[in-house]
């Protein structure tokens, strides 16, 4: 058993090296003093300095953050309410709705993007609008909501079926039942869904590409436009920065969780001791 485990661990380590090799290359060459992405010619921080004066990159970064934050927040609200609604339905109604909910998750991005662009273009002809930030936001909300629902539903199923009635018997209005009893219970699911939705939005290229039109550009779209010419090391610099931010956030979250777990265990031990 242990022997098999070492083999498995070595294989896993090799896989992780494979996953991180291009990222290391990307980060190392963000410090390269020339524009080459294969020849190392000396250390510099110039790309990081130039990054902040590059209006194209900064505005596309702003668009990406704005659309991702807005879309994931709106999706979290609509999705949470929808999940509570689906949960309260009879199975014969819930099942088809959940199937439709899964379509954007399972469908290829390109089909989601193309189908939305068909809708936006033809609706735009009727109502006289063009593709832009609005259509981009609607598209992002549409593919974010299913992830919120998929992570909230399991939390709802963990609830006691009688919780709603118990809360109302104790005098809660329907709004208080949701706001004071149900939402706190399913909060981990909502936060999780929000984070997945945000990640999906930040990383999305394909759906944005088909729904944003030519007036707005997300960071992914800017990068794609650049790959046709040559990517400036400034892009390496900004992704290194984003990577560092996420890494630090993840470490903080994990350390805090680990501490809380330790504290909980201590508490339990103390309680047992006092008994």
């Amino acid at each position: 058993m242990t022997k098999k485990n070492t083999a498995g661990n070595i294989f896993t380590a090799l896989t992780y090296i494979f996953l991180y090799a291009p990222i290391v290359v990307l980060i190392v060459f963000s410090f390269n003093s020339t524009k080459s992405r294969t020849v190392w010619s000396g250390f510099t921080l110039n790309w990081y300095k130039e990054l902040f004066s590059d209006s194209l990159i900064m505005s596309s970064l702003q668009t990406t953050l704005m659309v991702s934050v807005l879309a994931s927040l709106i999706a979290a609200v609509i999705g949470t309410f929808a999940a509570i609604g689906f949960y309260s339905m009879k199975k014969q109604w819930r099942a088809p709705f959940l199937t439709v909910n899964n379509i954007p998750v399972i469908n290829a991005d390109i089909i989601t993007g193309v189908s939305l662009s068909l809708l936006f273009v033809s609706a735009g002809l009727f109502m006289g609008f063009e593709l832009g930030f609005g259509t981009l936001l609607i598209a992002h909300i549409s593919f974010d909501i299913p992830y919120v629902i998929l992570s909230v539903m399991p939390k709802l199923y963990q609830l006691d079926r009688n919780l709603f009635e118990a809360a109302q018997d104790l005098g809660c209005t329907w709004f208080q039942t949701i706001y004071k009893v149900v939402i706190p219970e399913i909060m981990p699911g909502i936060i999780n869904g929000l984070l997945i939705a945000f990640t999906m939005s930040v990383d999305d290229f394909v759906i944005s590409y088909f729904t944003a039109g030519s007036s707005v550009e997300t960071l992914s779209m800017a990068i794609y436009a650049m790959t046709r010419r040559r990517i400036s090391p400034k892009i390496n610099a900004i992704s290194t920065l984003l990577f560092a931010v996420v890494l630090i956030l993840l470490i903080i979250v994990n350390v805090r969780e680990a501490r809380q777990q330790k504290a909980n265990i201590k508490k339990q031990k103390m309680l047992k001791g006092s008994n």
């Binding site: 992780y16 609509i78 009635e165 990640t199 990383d203 390496n236």
Partner: protein
């Protein structure tokens, strides 16, 4: 006593009628929370897909036609290539991903958390940039070829052929703009989607089930074959879908790593909507067929999983 019990009895009777009605109304009100999203789905999920169907069966003039589908016959090689490369990439992801998922799920809880975090971390680097980074590794003058040259691989190969007059010395391996590079890009980008669902299912297997099998005399190999693998099948199925679907429909990976000559289905669709060959009707027809392929593949896959819950997303 009589005086106090009469109103109480009355209250109870009212309650016995009113409470079920009330809880029914409450339930009904809670159901209505889903209505905004149901409307949203109708507008932005169902209608767009119907539009694809409408476009696929109409011509630019607006009449019904099947021409879009007969036009597709020219692109059969592209369909074949896409399916083949996606299948190869999915198979490789499975072969790499399953052992890794198994190894991770055998670690202790803390190590598991770190390993999972490390798998998700690269997803935070823009997917285009990760693919672009592979370009700098695979190019003819890229890092891999430079490294091979530095340790003298090409000199050695050229020296082996020195007797042959027709031989032209090589200075690099052709790595980029090949099918191999495209498959590599798919495996690299979608491997986490194979590892995560499989791992999440294996972790949930009751350790007592495995212990029971061992107590009944099963070797570790039999335990894996008869217990662990069958129980992890639902994770495998969602992993396979989550790798195959984006692989078969990508146009970014093929454009960056496959060069301009190696077209995939995704490129074909993209060209009909954004490219010079603007023809959304043909594009919709191709999209429709691609959706059909995905649905067929998935229903075949689900047959294997027989009734297992299938929504394992991260």
């Amino acid at each position: 006593m009589n005086r106090s019990s009469a109103p109480a009895g009355f209250k109870e009777r009212v309650a016995s009628v009113w409470l079920p009605v009330k809880s029914f109304l409450e339930r009904y009100r809670r159901q209505s929370f889903a209505y905004p999203y149901v409307l949203w789905m109708a507008l932005f999920v169902v209608i767009p897909i119907i539009l694809i169907g409408v476009y696929a069966f109409t011509s630019a003039e607006g009449g019904f036609t099947l021409e879009n589908f007969s036009g597709i016959t020219n692109y059969i090689p592209v369909f074949g290539r896409s399916l083949w490369l996606a299948l190869v990439a999915t198979a490789i992801c499975f072969i790499i991903g399953y052992p890794v998922a198994l190894a991770i799920s055998r670690m202790d809880a803390k190590a598991q958390r770190i390993m999972l975090m490390l798998i998700m971390l690269p997803m935070w680097i823009n997917f285009l940039l990760r693919t672009y980074a592979w370009m700098s590794l695979l190019e003819n003058t890229g890092l891999i070829n430079r490294m091979l040259a530095a340790i003298g691989v090409f000199d050695w190969i050229n020296a082996m052929h020195s007797g042959n007059p027709n031989y032209t010395p090589i200075t690099h391996f052709q790595l980029i703009n090949t099918n191999g590079a495209v498959v590599l890009g798919m495996v690299y980008n979608y491997l986490p989607f194979m590892i995560l669902p499989i791992q999440s299912v294996i972790v949930k297997i009751d350790p007592f089930v495995i212990e029971a099998a061992q107590d009944l005399g099963a070797s570790s190999r039999t335990v894996f074959r008869k217990v662990i693998f069958p129980l992890s099948l639902s994770g495998v199925i969602s992993g396979i879908t989550m790798v195959f679907v984006p692989s078969v429909s990508t146009f970014v990976i093929s454009r960056l790593l496959g060069g301009s000559t190696n077209m995939l289905l995704g490129d074909l669709i993209e060209m009909q909507f954004m490219g010079a060959a603007y023809n959304p009707h043909l594009g919709s027809a191709i999209s429709l067929i691609m959706m059909a392929i995905v649905v067929i593949c998935m229903s075949v896959m689900n047959k294997f999983g027989e009734g297992e819950e299938q929504a394992v997303v991260m």
